[in-house]
Symmetry: C2
Subunit: 222 residues, 2 copies
């Protein structure tokens, strides 16, 4: 049975990736990064809730503490001196929540763990449609990263897959419903830990996705 | 004045990189990774000693705690259950001390810091001649990483330079002497923290470099 690692932040894109990995019949390993974001405890709860929902054994779960990213700073997600802004409208500008080169840090760690456990596939819920401002959400970035694995890893046959990269948010919602993923256990808000604020980038994009898919977000009832 | 980050483990290749960065007239920032290796305190001492030798201000120094790599394991450098072997002879096999995908983790963090401080050049003392077994010491790996920066970073003009990658160890020793780098403050041993063991891979390669360069290693007198 092939092994796959899924990067599970706890957000809706990542929970759909868990659904895709299971649909491919892989034995799944779930990796969560606590990189010091303001809602990290809430996201970790989603990670654990989703892991339990799918009965993933403890030994296949890993939470990596990346709070040292606070030392580097430069993002509203990890730097207490930069506030999380409300949604600023769609734009090609890189938002304040951008953590410099974050996805490369996360993917490198994930590849390292993949080598240790022998996983050949690594799922990440990067989404280009809704993150035009993030340079590391572009498809070409992932093909270059796969090239880097071939050059720099002992296990050269590990590859990163990005099942939702070309989907619009409403299509991600629809795919998640098809795969019966527990959207009720996911978490997207960058600001709060009790109820979604409804006004940060992440909340606005999520709400629009559910609305356009004509599905009621289970989190809208909490 | 252009800013440069130097990845300074405290070993001889990295101290030569500090010399090269200063020779290029860059304002230097020094980055050290404590990634849970057995001799990490001793290496950190070398890092601080070299920083003080060159009068690098405190604000330009950063030590990142990567002890979470122990959670991932898989290497004799970070896993207490795998012992550091003595020198096994030159070979194309990947040694036990290989930390899976380590250089990608380190470089990603360094690029992140480079974006925050505005550094355009990132020096790393990777050396292909003496590390044929490490996939992430190959020149092609670094050109792919530079491509990844162009794809995935906000500051696309950051580039990694590898001044010693094609040098033999004896040439690194000679270049260091020309640049007047403080080899006496560097540290290479993987095993001990007081006096170099003389038998681990790193000690044997260092000794051979000094011997072939016909220079006495200042550490051989301690």
């Amino acid at each position: 049975m092939e092994k796959a690692i899924v990067l599970l932040s706890g957000g809706m894109d990542s929970v759909v990736c868990v659904g895709e990995a299971l649909a491919s019949k892989a034995q799944i390993y779930l990796l969560h990064m606590n990189y010091g974001q303001k809602t990290s405890e809430r996201e970790k709860k989603s990670f654990m809730d989703i892991a339990h929902f799918y009965h993933v054994p403890e030994k296949n779960l890993k939470v990596i503490d990346m709070t040292f990213l606070r030392q580097i700073g430069g993002s509203s997600l990890t730097d207490e001196n930069i506030s999380v802004k409300n949604f600023q409208g769609d734009s090609l500008h890189i938002p304040d929540s951008y953590v410099p080169f974050r996805n490369s840090i996360i993917l490198s760690l994930a590849v390292s763990w993949a080598e240790v456990v022998g996983a050949k596939t690594l799922y990440i819920g990067a989404n280009h449609e809704d993150s035009p401002g993030y340079p590391d959400c572009r498809p070409s970035y992932y093909s270059t990263f796969n090239q880097l694995i071939k050059e720099g890893a002992k296990a050269q046959d590990i590859s990163i897959v990005t099942p939702v990269i070309h989907l619009k948010k409403k299509e991600i919602v629809k795919r998640g419903i098809e795969l019966k993923v527990p959207f009720n256990l996911s978490w997207s808000c960058y600001k709060n830990s009790e109820t979604p604020c409804g006004v940060c980038d992440s909340c606005v994009i999520r709400a629009r996705g559910f609305s356009e898919a004509e599905i009621i977000d289970p989190l809208s009832n909490v």
